[in-house]
C-alpha cells in the first residue's frame, strides 16, 4: 500500500469548511440488507457451472447440515462464498508457487504438488466424484438421498474414491472452504447474518476485551462484522 497521504487544510480564517488532518472522505457504504441478497437457488455463479453449483450446494448441505442447533451451510450461504473464492485469487492460486516440474504423486506430507489450481481441482474433482457417485450409487451426487450422500462423502474422505493424484486435495479443499464460508466475515459472501458466530458465541470483529480477560462467565454480547452490522 502506498504511504498514506495526509491532507493539510487551507489555513481557514474565522470560519469555513471542515478542517482537520482528514485521512478519508469516503462516503458511508450502505450495508447490504439480508433481504436484498439473491436467494441461494437463484444465485448466478461467477465460476461454477450450474451443475457444479448444484453439487456444491448439495455437498456443503451435508458437510454442515441445517437440522439441529445452529445454522447450516445453506442458511449461511456457504455455496456463494465458495463460488466467489474460486473466481478470485484463491481459485487461481495467485499466491502459490506454480512452477514445474510437478510431482503430484509425491508424499502428501510434502504438501500439495498438483499442477491444478484450486479452481481446476474443483472442476475436475467434482466431475470425477460425480461420475463415481453415478457408477457406485446410481446417480450424480446432487440427486442421491442424504444417507447415500453422506456415505459418498465418507468414501471421499477415506480415500476410497479413486481420483487422479492431481486431485488429491479435493476433499480437503471442499471441507476447508465450507468451514471458511461458514465462519468468515460476511463480506466474503458466507456467514450470512453472522449466524454461525451467534451460534458458537464468537464476537466477530469487536476485538476489544480488556475487562473480560480472566472472567469465567459467558460473554453475552452478540457479534459485529467488519462492515459494522450487528447481530
Amino acid at each position: 500500500m502506498p504511504p498514506f497521504q495526509i491532507y493539510t487544510t487551507r489555513r481557514s480564517f474565522l470560519a469555513g469548511t471542515a478542517a482537520g488532518a482528514a485521512l478519508s472522505v469516503m462516503a458511508f457504504r450502505a450495508r447490504a440488507q439480508a433481504a436484498q441478497e439473491v436467494p441461494l437457488a437463484e444465485y448466478q455463479p461467477e465460476y461454477l457451472s450450474a451443475i457444479e453449483y448444484a453439487f456444491v450446494m448439495a455437498a456443503t448441505a451435508r458437510l454442515i447440515p441445517s437440522d439441529g442447533d445452529g445454522p447450516g451451510a445453506l442458511e449461511t450461504r456457504v455455496p456463494v462464498f465458495i463460488d466467489r473464492e474460486l473466481a478470485g485469487d484463491f481459485g487461481t492460486a495467485a499466491d502459490l508457487y506454480m512452477e514445474g516440474p510437478f510431482n503430484p504423486e509425491a508424499d502428501p506430507t510434502l504438501g500439495t504438488q498438483s499442477p491444478l489450481t484450486p479452481a481446476g481441482i474443483y472442476r475436475e474433482g467434482i466431475a470425477a466424484f460425480d461420475k463415481w457417485c453415478l457408477d457406485t450409487h446410481g446417480s450424480g451426487f446432487a440427486d442421491l438421498d442424504a444417507a447415500r450422500q453422506d456415505a459418498s462423502l465418507t468414501s471421499l474422505s477415506d480415500d476410497e474414491v479413486p481420483l487422479d493424484p492431481t486431485l488429491r486435495e479435493f476433499w480437503a479443499l471442499l471441507l476447508q472452504n465450507a468451514k471458511e464460508g461458514y465462519f468468515s466475515d460476511p463480506q466474503y459472501g458466507g456467514n450470512a447474518g453472522m449466524e454461525a458466530w451467534v451460534y458458537i458465541g464468537f464476537p466477530g470483529a469487536r476485538a476489544n476485551f480488556y475487562e473480560w480477560v480472566g472472567k469465567d462467565e459467558a460473554y453475552p454480547l452478540g457479534p459485529v462484522d467488519i462492515a459494522g452490522e450487528r447481530a
Binding site: L63, G68, A205, A207
Partner: protein, 589 residues
C-alpha cells in the same frame, strides 16, 4: 546491469527487526544508509486498521501479511535421498514480508535463553561426557556468552517494551517470576499481562504440584509505554487477533511501533520497498563485498548498489539463500562434512495436551499473543541428559491467544470432522477447551541443512534453496518426556476429557500443518571459521564487510522463541561495528 546507483556507506538487506535496529544504530554514526525491502511498506493505519484487519479469512487463513510462495519459496525434503519438492503453499512455517517483516505479525513471546544454551556443546561434554552427543548431532558453542550478551538482552527488551515479571535479578530470586531464568540486571520494563481463565487454572494446578508458574514474557504492552527513541506503545486490549495480524492498537512491539518513525527522522537514512536483493556482489579477490544487486520493481530493472558495508537482515532462511547464491562461504556438504554455509538448520520441537471443560467459559477470543502462564521446571538447564537419554528441554505454557473459529475449533477425540456431529460438537465445545503446550529445543544434525535446489527456480531465475530436515530420535525423546510431565498436570485439573498431540517414534516432518516459524541456523556463529559461517560478532569470516543478522546465526535451536536472542545479537553486533569495525574495517577475529 541496467544501472549503477551512487555509492552508500551501508546497505541493509531487509527492513524488519534487525534491519531497523541496525539502521538506527548506524544512522547515529552519521553514515549514509540505504535499506532495501523486497516487500511493500506497512503502517498501522491503514494496513492494520481497526476493524478491517480483524479479518480471519484474509490474514489468518489466506495469510495476507506473509510471504507469497509464488514470489519466494524453497524446496523441502526429509532425507539426503528423498527428492525435494517445492513448498508450494504455506503451511509449517510462515515467513513474513514487507517493512516490519515478521515483527508485525508475531505473537510477541520474548525470552532469553538459558546460560548453558549458548555453550551447549561444552556444557554437555563437561557435565555428561562427550559420548552423550550422538553420532550425527552437530551442536556447537555460539562463541559469545550469556553474560556478555546480558546488557543487549536488556537493551532489546526495553526498546521493544516487554511485559513480564523478573525471576532472577543479579542472582537474587524474585517472587512471582521464573526462578530458573538466566539472571537479568533489572525488572522488566512493564508489568505482566492479565491472565486468562485457562492460565489461572494452570497456575493453580502447577503450584499445587510443587512447580513454579510465572507470567510468560510478552511483547504486548500491558500499559502505555515510551521507549528510548520516544516511540510509543498503547495498552493491549486482548483483541484475540495477534499472530498473523498487524496490531490495531500500537500494542504489539514491532519495528513500526518501536523504531521506524524515529528512524525516518534521520536524514542520512533512506529505504526502498519492492526492491528484492538478488545477490551480494563480491570483489574479484573475494575478500570483501562491493555492494548488492537488486531488482527495482518500480523501474523494472536490475540495479547495482555499491556500498562499503553490507548488513544482511532478511529473514533467517532468506539470509542463507542469499549467501548461497552469492558464493559467501563454502556450502555445507553433509557427506564430506565440509563447508559452513547452510550448515545446522534446526526447527522447534513442540507438543501439547488439550483439555475440555463443559462448565468453564474460557472466552478464548479475549486473548493476547503472549499472555499465559509458563513453567520452566523442565528447562534444558534442569535436565540430566545422561539419565533421560536426550539433550534438550522445554518450557511449558497455558495461554489461549485467540478464539478464531476457522483456524480450528478443538473437539474431543471421536467427534466427526463434518456433518451433524461436527455441528453439534462446535456448539457444545467452542470456548470450553484449553491446552498446555511444550515449546522445546531442537538440536542440529549433519543431515539437517540448507543448500541450493538443483531443479526449481524463482521468479528471477535463481535456484530455490533446498531444506533437508526431519525429526530426530533425540528431540522426539525430549517431547515424550514433556508429555509425561504435562499429562499429570492436565489430569490434576480434572477436565471432562483430554487428549494429547506429541511427536512419537518415527515421526516424519509434515510440511502441511502450521507448527512454528522458528527456522534457525544455516549461517551459524562460532569460534572457528572451519565450523561456522560467522564469527561471534556476526561478521562473515571470509568477507569482513558483511554482517549477517537473525536466527540464521543460531548453531542449534534454543528452547525458547528466538526473537529476544535475535534482538540482543543485533544490538551486540551493532556495537561491535560502531566501536571496533568502523574505525578500522577488518576481520574482527
Amino acid at each position: 546491469m541496467a544501472r549503477t546507483d551512487p555509492k552508500k556507506d551501508v546497505v541493509i538487506i531487509g527492513l524488519g527487526w534487525t534491519g531497523a535496529i541496525l539502521g538506527m544504530e548506524l544512522a547515529q554514526e552519521g553514515l549514509e544508509i540505504l535499506a532495501l525491502e523486497r516487500g511493500p511498506d506497512r503502517e498501522t493505519v491503514p494496513d492494520f486498521q481497526y476493524p478491517k484487519v480483524i479479518d480471519e479469512l484474509k490474514y489468518g487463513i489466506r495469510l495476507g501479511f506473509m510471504q507469497k510462495p509464488r514470489n519466494s519459496t524453497l524446496t523441502i525434503r526429509r532425507t539426503l535421498t528423498e527428492e525435494a519438492q517445492p513448498y508450494r503453499r504455506l503451511g509449517s512455517f510462515l515467513p513474513g514480508d514487507g517493512v516490519g517483516g515478521a515483527g508485525i505479525h508475531w505473537n510477541g513471546q520474548t525470552w532469553r535463553p538459558m546460560q548453558i544454551e549458548l555453550r551447549l556443546k561444552s556444557y554437555v561434554e563437561e557435565t555428561f561426557g562427550p559420548a552423550t552427543i550422538p553420532d550425527g548431532m552437530t551442536i556447537q558453542d555460539w562463541g559469545v556468552s550469556y553474560d556478555e550478551l546480558e546488557p543487549y538482552f536488556d537493551r532489546f527488551e526495553y526498546m521493544a517494551g516487554i511485559s513480564g515479571k523478573a525471576g532472577n535479578i543479579k542472582g537474587e530470586i524474585q517472587e512471582g517470576g521464573n526462578p530458573f531464568e538466566s539472571p537479568r540486571s533489572r525488572e522488566y520494563p512493564m508489568p505482566p499481562m492479565k491472565q486468562g481463565v485457562d492460565a489461572q487454572m494452570f497456575a493453580k494446578a502447577a503450584s499445587a504440584m510443587g512447580l513454579h508458574p510465572f507470567p510468560r514474557p510478552a511483547a504486548n504492552a500491558s500499559v502505555a509505554y515510551t521507549n528510548e527513541y520516544g516511540m510509543q506503545l498503547g495498552p493491549c486490549n486482548y483483541c484475540g487477533f495477534c499472530e498473523r495480524y498487524g496490531c490495531i492498537n500500537y500494542s504489539k512491539s514491532s519495528p513500526q511501533t518501536c523504531i521506524l518513525d524515529a528512524l525516518r527522522r534521520m536524514p542520512n537514512f533512506s529505504y526502498k520497498v519492492n526492491s528484492e536483493v538478488l545477490k551480494i556482489d563480491l570483489a574479484e579477490d573475494g575478500k570483501t563485498a562491493t555492494g548488492v544487486t537488486y531488482f527495482d520493481a518500480a523501474a523494472q530493472e536490475e540495479v547495482f548498489q555499491p556500498a562499503d558495508l553490507v548488513i544482511v537482515a532478511a529473514y533467517a532462511l532468506h539470509n542463507v539463500h542469499l549467501m548461497l547464491l552469492s558464493g559467501i562461504g563454502e556450502p555445507w556438504d553433509p557427506a564430506q562434512q565440509t563447508g559452513t554455509t547452510g550448515k545446522n538448520y534446526a526447527y522447534q520441537m513442540n507438543g501439547s495436551t488439550r483439555m475440555f471443560f463443559k462448565d468453564v467459559a474460557f472466552n478464548p477470543f479475549a486473548g493476547a499473543g503472549a499472555n499465559g502462564i509458563s513453567i520452566d521446571d523442565y528447562a534444558i538447564s534442569r535436565i540430566d541428559f545422561a539419565k533421560e537419554g536426550f539433550i534438550g528441554g522445554s518450557y511449558i505454557t497455558a495461554g489461549i491467544s485467540n478464539g478464531q473459529p476457522i483456524r480450528g475449533i478443538a473437539l474431543p477425540e471421536g467427534t466427526p470432522s463434518w456433518g451433524a456431529g461436527w455441528k453439534q460438537g462446535i456448539g457444545d465445545w467452542y470456548g470450553h477447551s484449553m491446552s498446555i503446550g511444550s515449546h522445546g529445543s531442537n538440536m542440529a544434525y549433519r543431515d539437517c541443512y540448507l543448500d541450493l535446489d538443483p531443479t526449481y527456480k524463482d521468479r528471477h531465475g535463481r535456484a530455490l534453496m533446498r531444506m533437508t530436515f526431519n525429526w530426530k530420535p533425540n528431540d522426539i525423546k525430549m517431547t515424550q518426556f514433556m508429555r509425561a510431565r504435562i499429562e499429570p498436570i492436565a489430569e490434576a485439573m480434572q477436565p471432562d476429557s483430554w487428549q494429547s498431540s506429541y511427536k512419537s517414534d518415527g515421526a516424519q516432518y509434515d510440511v502441511r500443518p502450521y507448527q512454528t516459524t522458528h527456522n534457525v541456523g544455516g549461517a551459524i556463529m562460532g569460534e572457528d571459521p572451519k565450523t561456522s559461517a560467522l564469527n561471534r560478532y556476526l561478521q562473515v569470516w571470509g568477507q569482513h564487510n558483511v554482517f549477517v543478522m537473525g536466527a540464521s546465526a543460531f548453531p542449534q535451536n534454543i528452547q525458547t522463541n528466538p526473537t529476544g536472542t535475535v534482538g540482543a545479537l543485533a544490538y551486540w553486533a551493532a556495537e561491535a561495528i560502531r566501536k571496533d569495525y568502523l574505525p578500522n574495517p577488518r576481520p574482527l577475529m
